[in-house]
Amino acid sequence: MDDYPTLSSLQRGERAIITGVHAGTGLRKRLQAMGLRTGREARVIRRGRLNGPLQVRVGSVDLIIRPRDAERIRISRLS
């Protein structure tokens, strides 16, 4: 569809800045309330096996999110 990188493409230990949350209002609200909002830095701590969830650190909070939902979060990679 498009080739913007999303949160789900990050590997263990990689960091990125969230540039947009592309989801319906309900989903967006939820992700934002959990801290996944534009402008914040996210780091992938680990990924689950068998296409399992990602453990993501945003600020002081650790979250797990399924790859399917993480695909809706656009990022810009930090090296």
Partner: protein
Amino acid sequence: MKRIALIGMPNTGKSTLFNRLTGSSAKIANWPGVTIDLLAAKVVVGGAAAEIIDLPGIYDLHGFSDDERVVRQFLENNPVDLVAVVLNATQLDHQLPLALQVRELGLPAVVFVNMADEAERLGVRVDTAALASGLKLPVALISARNGSGFAEVQRLLAATLGRVDAVQTQDIRQTLAHDDELVGEAEQLVRRAVSAPSRIERQVTERLDRWLLHPLFGLPLFFLIMFGVFQAIYALGTPIQDFVAWLLDGFRDHYLAGLAGLLPTTLYSFLVSGIYDGIATVASFVPVIILFFFLMSFVEDSGYLARVAFLTDGLMARLGLDGRGFVMMLMGFGCNVPALMGTRVMRNRAMRLLTMLVIPFSLCSARLQVFLFLTTALFSPRQAPLVLFALYVMSFVAAFTTAILFSRRLKSDEPFVLEIPPYRLPVLRQVVMRGWHEVRHFLHRASTFIISGVVLVWFLTHFPEAARPGGAGTYAYTLGQWLAPVLNPIGIDASMAVVLMFGFVAKEIVLGAMVAMTGLEGQALAGYLAQHMDWVQAFSFMLFTLLYTPCVSTLATQRSESRSLGFVGMSVAWSLGLAWITSFIFYQGARLLAG
């Protein structure tokens, strides 16, 4: 009476604070306009009576999750005199927007910044004066875990409660339409009032997770931990359960038996075999429920349960379940009742219902007793373990089939995002309170249903009076005969159908029912069964017993937890149907093959 509502995000220690404020007096109650039960308690604040309500943990007053809807329903239908917002001091960047939302709604509020002890350990400093002036709300720094700052909590509640009239908010979502601005305000506030190291290091958590969430060792460790918890609950619980049963039987034999001559026979039978046995059934669950929640809240409060979700979600997501549901399913192999109650950790209703539909297929310890007896009676010592193993496999197959089939109907529309809290040592007081509240909840909500079910079965198996209890001529037997066209194709005759009806009360009774019907016990009963049932019939009977319906206590719990009789009806219809089809395929298939 003044009303105080506690609001906060999950993992903020809100419930610990609630328990500290209210002690054991808290009760589950329903509220106007609110679709779930909430825990509330009456307390004395500043010399006057007040009630405190523990609202579900939420991230956003504006959001669409089931819990967020509940909190809105509560605030829009029940005027509150004060909202106490509980925040986690180590995550103020994340949590302040919620406090600002409360203020934005014009609700009278105080803010308790909790986990002061943890914040201090991590080098996070909170300037409460700056926070209070920025929020324009009174603020106190506290630790619900060790009780520090508690005098300040009491003082603030007394000072603020009743200063203004109770507020009933309207149209919360509309009022908060522009709450994105609050995030900017929260960020400014954090810069002014919080000083924290640039990177918070939680060394213990990191080190533990390196093993517990390890790509290879994570899952084996999970099964090991679950096995330990399971053993602890049921190795301890079963003797206590036996002891309770022994006490209740003793009371019946020594005291109630004395009434036998004094009361009319029917009334005596009603009281002893109906009501008293119903009460005994309810009582038998109390020890396991306490132990279950004692250990499960340990697993939950420590932060491990959220990690289970991480470990198992890759597989569970395909079944429409989540990892915590899988934990409850495993626990169901001990007893379905506390496992169903434990699904409350899942905050999404659709996912919770799906899990509650799956749990009854877990081969619980009561069913195991029946199968142990039947397999030893009807199979050779070499076959028996294999038969038992096959039944366990069937239990999993039925559960996963159900999950896959119904996950489309009970689809959760919420994204699966879960916070992973740092590991924390559970507060003993909190763990004990949980067990106590759960038992009270079970007794309050399920006992009437269970006793009614036991009385119904008593009636079916003891009337008309001319017939021998459980024998030919009773309503149950007649019903069994009517059902012959359905039950014969799976190899079950009318007397075994009566046994199944007894089995509805509790699977433990199945053996007792066979004893009552044949007049034989132990070896003699085993011999009798071996003569009257071949192995195909026996296995078909066991398959049916495994799947056909959970006991009345499980149904009562399904009803009280889902608050929907329709759901219970669907669950019963599905398990009966699945049991019949499975037994039919097996029985007819085996007969065909055997020629």
